[in-house]
Structures are given as C-alpha cells and as structure tokens.
C-alpha cells in the first residue's frame, strides 16, 4: 500500500500595477474559485511543523521570526488569519488555499500515477480558471499564475511530494536509502532553470540548471521548509494514525509541467520506498550531498562526478542507474504500474546518456533547454541575455494562451499520460480508491453540514452523538468503497455515520 500526493505553491503576479499585494492577490485568487462567500472550515489541528521525525520537537523554525514580522505587517488588514488563508476543500478532495502568499493546490491522496497526474493537471486548471474569474473582476487579463519554484531574485516556493509509509520503516533507514536518490533525481525530475541564485541573494545569469530548487538546498536533514531547506525534510506530520504511519514530506522537488516527469518523479520515489521497506538497497552514501546536488544541477552535460563515502566516484546518471537496477531486480513483476515505471526509468536514463532530444516533451529541463536553445539561435542572443529568464518563467505560465509548455502541448509535442476526459473527471471527484475520493464525496453531498474538515477527519454539525468521520487509518480500498457507498446513499451525515459505525461493530 502506498499513497501519494503533490502540493504545489503557484507564483502569482499582476501586470497592471507596479507593486502587487501578494497577501490580497493570493487570497482573492483562491476565493475566485468560490461561487458563494467563503466559510471557514479547515481544521488546523493536525498541523504541527515543529514535530521532527528524528524523535524530538524543535522549539522554533528559522521562518518563525520572518513569519512574525509578516504577521505584524499584515495585522492592519481588515481580515483575519483564517480569511487570509481562505482554506477550501474541493469536491474532488483537494485542498486549495493561500499558503505564505502563494495559491497552493494539494491533490487528494492518490493510489495510481494516472490518478495523480490527472489531479495535478486538474490543479493547473483550477488555478487558471480562478485567475480568469479574478481577471474578469479586475477588468483585464492582468493576473498571471506560474507553476514554478523561483522568482529569479532568491525567493523560492515549493512543490512537495508526499508519501504515506509505515511507521515501522525507521527514519534513519529512509535517510540512508533516499539521500543519494534525491541528490540525483533531478536528472529526470528537474524543471530546468536559467541562471543561478541563492536564498534572498539575487540572481546571476549565464548558466542553465537542471533544477529550480537545487540552489535553495542548504542542509541534508531538517524540519525547516522556508529557510535552511533540507534535501530530506524531517517534519513529522503524518495526517494519519501516528502509531502506524508517517508521511514522507519531500520539499526538494521542482514543479513539473511535463506529465511524464511528474509520473517518473513520484513513481521512481515510490519504488525506492518499496526497496527501503524490503531492506533491499545496498548502502550507498554521498560524501557531501548539499554540494553534490548543486553541482549536478549546474551541469546539463551530466559529467559531474559525485564522491561517495566509500571512495567511489559516480555520476548522477550512474546513481540513478544503480537504483533503477536494484528496483528492476527486486520489484519487476510486482504490478503493471511498477513494470511500466521500471521500463520507462531505464529507457529515460538511456536516452539521457545517448540522445536526450528524445526526451523533449517528456522531461522539463530537456524541453525548456531545447526551446531556449532554439530561440537563442533564431534571435542570435547569448546565455547572458535577461530575456532567457523571462522565457524560463513563461514556460510555467498556466494560461494556455501564454504558457510556453502549454503551447508545446497544444501542438501535440508533449507526451501525455492523461486524457482531457480524465482531467475533467479529476476536477469533479477524487480517486474512488482513496480517502481523498471519500472526502470529496462528503463535500459534494453534505457541504452545508460540514463543520470542519482536514486530511484525516471530517466533523459534521449537529446532534449529541459523535459526528465525525475519522479517516486516520482508512486506507484499505474495500473499506473506502464501502464507506463511500454508505455516504453516497445516506440521507444525512448522521445516518451515514451510524451505518458506518454499525458496520464496524458487526465486523469486530
């Protein structure tokens, strides 16, 4: 059993004013999704970013002081913290809200890559449609939304991939198994970036990188997410029964436009987690992961050598090939999706070393580089031209009339895993085999009766009896479908909960 989901913070800007208020614009963008007025429903009880998976609780995060300063500056505004957040749960089980002045779309929990990619694409559509509504109010097409991770001035925002894993896998085992994989994952999952930057310290043109986020990785492990960012985030916020599960929360990833890159990023990580759970990975430790991740990102020819603690020297491609090979040996034949992944992973690594032009439309960093190099030849400009950073930015524009990637896709040059029908379905409802679909169903049927909602719990209004649906350990597919059937047919949440609780009593 492995569930996954993606949280994407979008960049937001307005063309019609010299200085945009990011708090207001992000809030208004999210609210533009609503047909009625905003009502506070999100329950923050399950969120505590100070809990560390290494077994302790930190007293403060590096971002706290800055957050306090922003809170002080934003205090004069005529709306509350909850108004600013404008947290929504959508009928497809997704969460859509204003996170640190970025509209964030979190997919519902997914069990298959096809569902995940469809929901990630649905997020793009929701953000774009909200921007269209907001633009109608503003009186022009002023608002632009970007599915990227940098503003080219040293400010980064995230695209986090999340995986439900058994608590029985120790965090040290995850660390050892994942660090070399994550250092090298950017060769398939990097979104590409023009120039080099560092946290809040400007931008230098003249280079092309595999990854948008590598510049912002400053330590190997840590609970912080906004400063001193770690390759492997240690936040212990399972959004599930803490005794049984942990949530691997990876903040290193780039926001991908290519469906293929999204599928490979999540899919290969899922395979590596399977290997860690089986204890099948031979120990492999990178000597200086933070240095290595930057060096790998800044070498689009992929010749950089990574030093391992045992003295070996390997390239990022060789590291990936190592993981791919072990996965093939251990996991081939497990299921159809794993077999597809194993085949595509190997084929992609082969193409990267042999003829990467075959990956245009499949991997973002390759596609963006191809577009930029073509443009440079046509316009006779060099890598130091600031126009290139703007092209990089517009590659990620989610407006189909403006975005460079979406233009490529409209021409049929991008590899598609999803159909338009699947994306439309993902806009309407969540995966039927996860609690995400069940959450969405409750929003569809009983929105008015929901008092509060979050990833693992829904509290319904009224009555003296317990009125909440606990989903902290609701991961069995059959149980989910049975619960969904009950909520689909019940006349009220109280009836549904009574039937659900009665069924569980009979089982026990």
């Amino acid at each position: 059993m492995r569930l996954f989901g993606i949280e994407t913070e979008y960049g937001i800007t307005r063309d019609d004013i010299p200085e945009m208020d990011p708090v207001v614009e992000s809030m208004e963008l999210v609210r533009a999704h609503l047909a009625s007025s905003f009502e506070r429903r999100w329950d923050y009880a399950g969120e505590d970013p100070h809990e560390d998976a290494r077994g302790f609780r930190v007293s403060g995060l590096q971002q706290d002081r800055e957050e306090d300063e922003f809170a002080r500056r934003d205090a004069h505004r005529p709306f509350s913290f909850h108004d600013m957040k404008s947290d929504l749960v959508l009928p497809n089980g997704a969460r859509f809200y204003n996170d640190h002045t970025h509209p964030e779309y979190s997919t519902p929990e997914c069990r298959t890559l096809r569902d995940l990619v469809a929901h990630d694409r649905a997020g793009e559509r929701i953000v774009h449609r909200a921007a269209q509504r907001r633009n109608r109010l503003l009186g022009g097409a002023y608002l632009r939304l970007y599915k990227n991770n940098t503003d080219f001035h040293g400010h980064s925002y995230g695209c986090h991939d999340n995986y439900l894993v058994p608590r029985s896998i120790s965090f040290p085992a995850l660390t050892v198994g994942l660090l070399p994989f994550l250092v090298s994952r950017q060769v398939i999952a990097g979104a590409g970036k023009v120039g080099i930057e560092a946290q809040e310290s400007g931008w230098v043109p003249g280079a092309y990188q595999l990854s948008q986020r590598a510049d912002f990785m400053e330590t190997e492990l840590g609970v912080d997410t906004m400063h001193n960012r770690p390759i492997l985030n240690t936040r212990d916020e399972p959004h599930a029964d803490r005794r049984k599960y942990r949530r691997l929360h990876l903040i290193i990833g780039d926001a991908n436009m290519c469906e293929y890159a999204t599928a490979l990023k999540i899919g290969t990580t899922r395979l590596v987690l399977d290997l860690i759970e089986r204890g099948a990975l031979p120990p492999l430790e990178v000597e200086q992961p933070v240095v290595a991740i930057k060096q790998v990102s800044r070498d689009s020819e992929m010749k950089t050598v990574i030093r391992l603690k045992d003295g070996r020297r390997v390239s990022a491609l060789e590291l990936q090939a190592h993981y791919c090979e072990v996965a093939h040996r251990e996991l081939a034949g497990s299921d159809e999706e794993s077999d597809w992944l194993l085949s595509e992973w190997a084929e992609t690594l082969h193409a990267l070393s042999d003829d990467r032009s075959r990956l245009v439309g499949k991997l973002d960093w390759v596609t963006k580089l191809w577009l930029i190099e073509t443009f440079m030849r046509e316009e006779r400009i060099g890598w130091d031209d600031p126009w290139l950073a703007s092209l990089d930015l517009e590659y990620h524009n989610v407006n189909p009339e403006q975005g460079l990637y979406l233009g490529l896709e409209a021409e049929g040059k991008a590899w598609r895993l999803t159909t338009e029908d699947e994306i439309e379905e993902a806009l309407r409802s969540g995966p039927q085999d996860t609690r995400g679909g069940l959450r969405g169903l409750c929003v569809q049927r009983f929105s008015e009766q929901i008092q509060s909602i979050q990833w693992e719990r829904i509290q319904f209004r009224g009555g003296l009896r317990s009125q909440h649906l606990n989903m902290g350990d609701l991961f069995d597919t059959q149980e989910i479908r049975r619960c969904a059937d009950i909520f689909q047919q019940a006349r009220s949440p109280a009836d549904a909960l009574a039937a659900w609780d009665h069924g569980k009593e009979i089982e026990t």
Partner: protein
C-alpha cells in the same frame, strides 16, 4: 554493477527536435506526441511575445 545500464556516452544532442517515439508508449502507457515536424514557428512567435523584462519585474515572497 552501477554502470551496466549505462551505454557509452555521446556528447549533447545534435538535432534538438523531437524524434518519433519508440514503441514503449503503446498500450497502457503514455500517449506519443503527434508525428511530423513540430510547428516551430508558432512556438517561436509565442516566445517572441514574452516581455524580456518579465522576470526582472517578477517578485514573490519566500514560500515553502
């Protein structure tokens, strides 16, 4: 056996245009791009419409 999957490396791509995809995408996998030459002109037009100063003006607060 770290290198067994790795073919001999050639220098960077020659023709940056997408080639016809291989057979792997048949069946339940991803769908191949349309065959034929890409209409580079319309994409180039779109790229030329990008304001060269767009990135310079673009400012965000730090996120997660």
């Amino acid at each position: 056996m770290i290198q067994s999957l790795m073919p001999e490396r050639r220098e960077g791509p020659g023709d940056p245009m997408p080639k016809s995809p291989g057979p792997l995408e048949e069946g339940g996998g991803p769908r191949r791009p349309e065959t034929g030459s890409p209409d580079k002109d319309s994409l180039l037009k779109r790229m030329r419409r990008v304001d060269p100063k767009q990135a310079e003006r673009y400012r965000q607060r730090t996120g997660e």
